[in-house]
């Protein structure tokens, strides 16, 4: 591998995220920008506004022809990104996956959380809350989104062990519709023990629905990702927990990995950023940091 | 061989509450021209549509060439050799003239591709036979109404039909074109082709038909042979009583010029150096062949088309009329000739169609006053004898002539000081034509001034105080009523530009 040590100042990386127009990516971008500033490289953040593999692959293709020095991308499909990543590598452009990964993809490393383990962790937490034999519903804002499906499946496996019954409903990505959907579901299923989002908007809606229905303490809510609405809900006791995957690190380490590859020919290595849970006990520590875009 | 090309036996057709045809038994003979007359709404178009497979009768039998048959679709009619000129002139404006001529289930050419050369050649042949000068490549949306009518007539002749039905084919044609049509009909009958001909111009009907049948209120009245027919007889057959014709009226025009147009030019549509004036209380007629530019002149006057140069004075004051809205504010109203495209709101009911231009006056502040709307509508319904079931009926379900009356009423209700009427009696029956003439006389007596564009020479001669003749965008003649004759007008109308 004959990477030159020189001219790091000119290094330019691009990070691509699926459905890039949502709030989730703000800490990722923050971490990415902080790293870029520290290292003196330039980075772009882009991606299709809504998940679309064809379009994201095309964007990677364009980055290759634009000749960037490194690519970070989310990989949200088992095989759609295999060829294009290989193409980049063949051109000598390092590729690191962040946030979402697929087995068998030739990318050099994955920096992020494993969705099924994160799902399993959430399952454990749910089981703790509702206890053996309860019934809950998963809130999926984007049915067919691999990561969300994987989280759901991870959690379901755990719930099966505890004999907790579950269903999964479509809340849509619209917050207001999502809240209404949950409220309606509750009207039809008043015996439910809790509802849990598998991504940001659905989780926000979970807390808001508890608030609107005035069910704090009767029905549990929780889910994924740190957004102000969710954190406030945890603070106020409408929601119990949210799974943290440290998105800041996903941006930060990805830039570092690409940089170190160029500077010292260090091949990128996998980094697990997952595992954190935010609940009543630590919500006050993170809420301001989240508002500033670090958590 | 059967003697009748088509025979109706006790045909009844109802539309909701309206009985359009009531136990009609009717025949058209082979190789003859059968004339069909009747008041507006009598059921003529309905009868034709049944022959064309557009609508199916509720009761009764149809025999075609002696055999009982149900004509289920226009496709089937086409296969049977029936070819129709519909009253509403259905045409694809987005396509060229030649494409429209050959529009149908079987476009000439191979299995996949059309034969454009053949189509152009045939169209040119047809046009020269009909004396039409329209480029075959022209988009129909750029053609004038008269041209559209000629195209549709040409289209009906383009296929080898046994039976040609024409529903008011002459309403937008000028005398010389009608003469050509006479010749064509003559030739068709010589070739053994049968023709059904509908018109409200009774002299025309007598001239072309071998036999004339009449409908009244959906019932068959009877028939009369060419030799027996006179205009009066026909009129009383269809109206059920004698019809008086309004003779010439005395001029009430004053000397003050209410409208004066100086050196008006409009390059794009070819109006050149037009100057004329209109006096208060005058009926000013405009004659000319189709495509002479009369409609375009009218639409330029009311600001619908922008003029390139020239001045317009109203009561001596120079005005800048840049939109029809402005024209209405200045007291100028325009009844367009193209009913379907420029007049009707086909999704709206009769009363809204009638009152829309006058809606500001029929409202209290911002709210529409339904009572006033109903009163106005009912007033004109009686005055113009508009045949309808309810004033809330959709305008689309009225017969063509009755639609025209509603549009006319739209402008009469507004009472503009200057009223421009473009072919106002298009498709209107004899009885009502007289009513309209009376109305016009009434209006000018009250001091209104009227510009009347008409292709019906007799109408102009009987009612206009002064007649201007246009040819190719120029004014080529001016006659007072006393001087005017058909010959003089025709001569000016075909005159090539002087300069």
């Amino acid at each position: 591998n004959s990477t030159e040590v020189a001219a790091q100042e000119d290094l330019e990386f691009t990070l691509l995220a699926h459905s890039s127009a949502i709030a989730f990516w703000r800490p990722v971008q923050q971490g990415m920008e902080d790293a870029a500033e520290q290292l003196g490289v330039s980075v772009n953040f882009t991606g299709p506004a809504q998940m679309d593999h064809g379009q994201q692959v095309a964007m990677i293709e364009n980055q290759i022809s634009a000749g960037v020095d490194g690519i970070g991308t989310t990989i949200t499909d088992p095989s759609a990104y295999n060829n294009i990543v290989q193409e980049a590598l063949d051109e000598g452009i390092p590729v690191v996956a962040f946030n979402a990964d697929a087995e068998g993809n030739p990318r050099m490393a994955y920096i992020g959380q494993a969705p099924d383990t994160a799902g399993a962790a959430m399952g454990e937490r749910i089981a703790e809350l509702v206890g053996e034999g309860g019934s809950i519903v998963f809130l999926n804002e984007d049915p067919g989104h691999t990561d969300l499906e994987a989280r759901t499946r991870g959690a379901q496996e755990v719930l099966d062990e505890y004999n907790i019954s579950y269903e999964s409903i479509d809340t849509t990505t619209d917050l207001s519709t999502a809240v209404s959907t949950i409220m309606d579901y509750y009207s039809g299923n008043p015996d439910i023990d809790g509802w849990f989002g598998v991504s940001a908007t659905a989780t926000e809606a979970a807390g808001l629905a508890v608030e609107q229905l005035d069910l704090a303490g009767e029905v549990y809510a929780g889910g994924f990702d740190l957004t102000p609405t969710t954190l406030e809900a945890i603070q106020d006791g409408y929601a119990q927990f949210t799974m943290d995957q440290h998105p800041y690190l996903q941006g930060y380490y990805t830039v570092h990995a690409l940089y170190l590859y160029h500077k010292y020919a260090i091949d990128p290595v996998d980094i697990d950023t997952g595992g954190g849970i935010v609940d009543q006990s630590n919500v006050n520590d993170v809420i301001d940091l989240s508002a500033d875009g670090y958590r | 061989m059967p003697e009748n090309i088509i025979e109706f036996k006790n045909i009844t057709k109802r539309f909701g509450g309206t009985t359009a045809l009531d136990q009609v038994s009717f025949t058209a003979k082979k190789g003859e021209v059968t004339g069909l007359i009747g008041e507006n709404g009598a059921g003529k178009s309905t009868l034709i549509k049944i022959c064309g497979g557009v609508i199916e009768p509720n009761e009764g039998q149809v025999f075609y060439e002696g055999e009982e048959i149900k004509i289920e679709s226009p496709r089937m009619a086409e296969k049977l050799g029936i070819s129709i000129v519909h009253q509403e002139l259905p045409i694809c404006e987005n396509m060229t003239v030649a494409q429209n001529i050959f529009l149908g289930p079987d476009i000439p050419g191979g299995k996949i591709f059309p034969d454009k050369k053949f189509m152009h050649k045939r169209t040119k042949e047809l046009f020269s036979r009909l004396n039409i000068e329209i480029p075959v490549n022209k988009l129909v949306s750029k053609c004038s109404l008269g041209q559209k009518q000629m195209i549709i007539i040409a289209k009906s002749l383009a296929r080898d039909a046994n039976f040609v039905l024409m529903d008011e084919p002459t309403t937008a044609l000028s005398p010389d074109e009608i003469d050509v049509l006479y010749d064509v009909l003559q030739r068709l009958t010589e070739e053994g082709i049968s023709v059904l001909f509908v018109s409200h111009r009774l002299n025309e009907v007598i001239k072309v038909s071998d036999r004339i049948c009449a409908l009244k209120d959906g019932k068959y009245v009877g028939d009369i042979s060419k030799d027996e027919a006179t205009e009066d007889k026909l009129a009383s057959m269809m109206v059920g009583r004698d019809v008086e014709t309004i003779s010439k009226k005395a001029s009430v025009a004053k000397e003050d010029k209410i409208l004066e147009v100086k050196n008006l030019n409009q390059e794009k549509i070819g109006l050149k150096d037009i100057s004329f004036n209109l006096k208060k209380g005058e009926v000013l007629g405009f004659a000319g062949l189709q495509g002479a530019g009369r409609s375009e002149l009218a639409r330029t006057l009311i600001g619908n088309f922008k003029l390139d140069s020239g001045e317009i004075y109203l009561k001596g004051e120079k005005v800048d009329i840049n939109s029809p809205k402005k024209a209405i504010e200045y007291g100028i109203g325009y009844l367009p000739e193209d009913r379907g495209n420029l007049g009707l709101f086909k999704k709206l009911d009769v009363k809204t169609n009638l009152c829309i231009a006058n809606i500001d006056n029929l409202s209290n502040y911002y709210m529409v006053n339904n009572k006033k709307i109903r009163e106005t509508t009912n007033k004109f319904k009686d005055q113009l004898d508009i045949k309808l079931r309810s004033i809330s009926q959709n305008i689309d379900s009225l017969s063509g002539g009755n639609q025209q009356k509603v549009l006319l009423a739209r402008w009469l209700s507004l009472q503009p000081e200057i009223l421009i009427l473009d072919e106002p009696t298009r498709g209107i029956d004899v009885g009502t034509k007289n009513e309209i003439r009376k109305l016009i006389i009434d209006l000018v007596e009250k001091g209104y001034s009227i510009i009347m564009i008409s292709s019906e020479m007799t109408e102009l001669l009987s009612i206009a105080d002064r007649i201007l003749v246009m040819s190719r965008g120029h004014i080529t003649g001016e006659f007072t009523r006393e001087e005017a004759t058909e010959e003089k007008i025709m001569k000016a109308a075909v005159q090539e530009t002087l300069l």
């Binding site: 127009a21 949502i22 709030a23 990516w25 703000r26 506004a49 809504q50 519903v137 999926n140 049915p143 269903e167 999964s168 409903i169 479509d170 990505t173 619209d174 917050l175 207001s176 809240v179 209404s180 959907t181 949950i182 409220m183 309606d184 579901y185 009207s187 039809g188 008043p190 908007t201 926000e204 808001l208 957004t227 102000p228 609405t229 406030e232 875009g293 | 619908n304 939109s323 029809p324 809205k325 024209a327 504010e329 495209n341 420029l342 007049g343 009707l344 709101f345 086909k346 999704k347 709206l348 809204t352 829309i356 231009a357 809606i359 500001d360 029929l362 409202s363 911002y366 709210m367 529409v368």
Partner: protein, 335 residues
């Protein structure tokens, strides 16, 4: 006889008239769908759920009123989903960043909404480009702009104000001693907007001009109607209703995300068309729009009550919408 009889006849006539109204087909479809859901879920036919549906339909419904007028004038607006997010994001940002009072911020934002509606109208009418494209463009432009303004982050944590109560709270009144009725303000505003829309489109002279413009633009011009002005006002009304719908959502949820309302444009147009508005202009009714929005709301509500799984839900919504329109059209045909 006669006095009673004629009164009876009159009554008969009146009720017959209602059955003959063109909105009756939509109403019938709504009744059939509701019957289906009452049968499937015991909680459907309750007062509480009825109020829920009204509230949940409010945002879509308010936007449908504006859109119905616009479509009737023969134009489209695909940017309503973005406007629906833009309103509260801009107003919220004004409050948080500039320290404005929410009432003032909301007022200014309504003005901005009107100006953006005018922008849609001006591009469409001045340059003569199809409004489908204009508003597809501004849909993306507005969405990108609010993402930039908000940095992709939800706007929340606004200081308290009676504003939120008035547009998103509940309106309580006592019917008996101690017994209160709670009506969500969103539902109240929905009804108010529907009534206003009804008056404008179906009773005012401006409404007549909308129908004429959409039915046959050239004939309308020749009848002295300034069709550019009519369409422009319809564009503005559509934008303003979308911004207003956004305010009720902000008031109810206390938060607004910049991605809110994506894909809503199709639902709004659908509600309008289900309610009998002709996609190509010239005919539309606000009562129909109301019923169309209600159908959309009832379907979602009913399926959620039944706890339909995520995958099946989409399929069923599609199926039911098509069936509703078939019922409507078949009914109207038989008339």
């Amino acid at each position: 006889m006669s006095d009673v009889q004629s009164k009876n006849n009159l009554l008969k006539d009146k009720s017959l008239q209602i059955v003959k109204r063109r909105e009756f087909g939509v109403f019938l479809a709504l009744v059939l769908i509701s019957a289906f859901f009452s049968f499937m879920s015991g909680s459907f036919l309750t007062y509480r759920n009825f109020i829920n549906i009204l509230r949940q339909t409010a945002e879509l419904g308010i936007m449908t009123v504006g859109m119905t007028m616009l479509i009737t004038s023969q134009e489209f607006d695909l940017s309503v989903g973005s406007m629906y997010a833009l309103g509260p994001v801009v107003a919220g940002t004004m409050v948080l960043e500039l320290g404005l009072n929410i009432w003032i911020a909301a007022f200014l934002t309504i003005l901005i909404g009107a100006v953006l509606g005018m922008l849609n109208g001006t591009i469409t009418l001045k340059f003569g480009i199809p409004s489908f494209i204009t508003t597809l463009g501004t849909m993306m432009l507005f969405r990108g702009t609010i993402l930039m303004i908000s940095d992709g982050w939800p706007v929340s944590g606004l200081p308290d104000s009676n504003f939120y109560g008035i547009f998103g709270g509940r309106f309580s009144f006592e019917i008996f001693e101690g017994r209160f009725i709670n009506i969500p303000m969103q539902a109240v505003w929905f009804i108010i907007v529907v009534i206003l829309g009804y008056i404008i489109l179906q009773k005012s002279k401006f409404g007549y001009k909308i129908y004429a413009t959409g039915g046959n633009r050239e004939a309308a011009e020749l009848s002295g109607i300034n069709t550019v002005k009519v369409k422009m006002i319809c564009f503005i009304m559509t934008s303003v209703t979308a911004v207003f719908a956004g305010f009720t959502s902000l008031s109810y949820l206390g938060s607004v995300s910049p991605t809110q309302g994506q894909g809503m444009e199709l639902q709004v147009i659908a509600a309008s068309v289900i309610g009998g508005t002709a996609l190509f202009g010239g005919s539309g009714s606000i009562v129909g729009a109301f019923l169309g929005a209600a159908i959309m709301g009832v379907v979602r509500n009913g399926l959620s009550l039944m706890g339909t799984g995520a995958y099946v839900q989409q399929a069923l919504i599609g199926l039911i919408i098509v069936s509703a329109v078939i019922v409507n059209v078949q009914y109207s045909k038989n008339e």
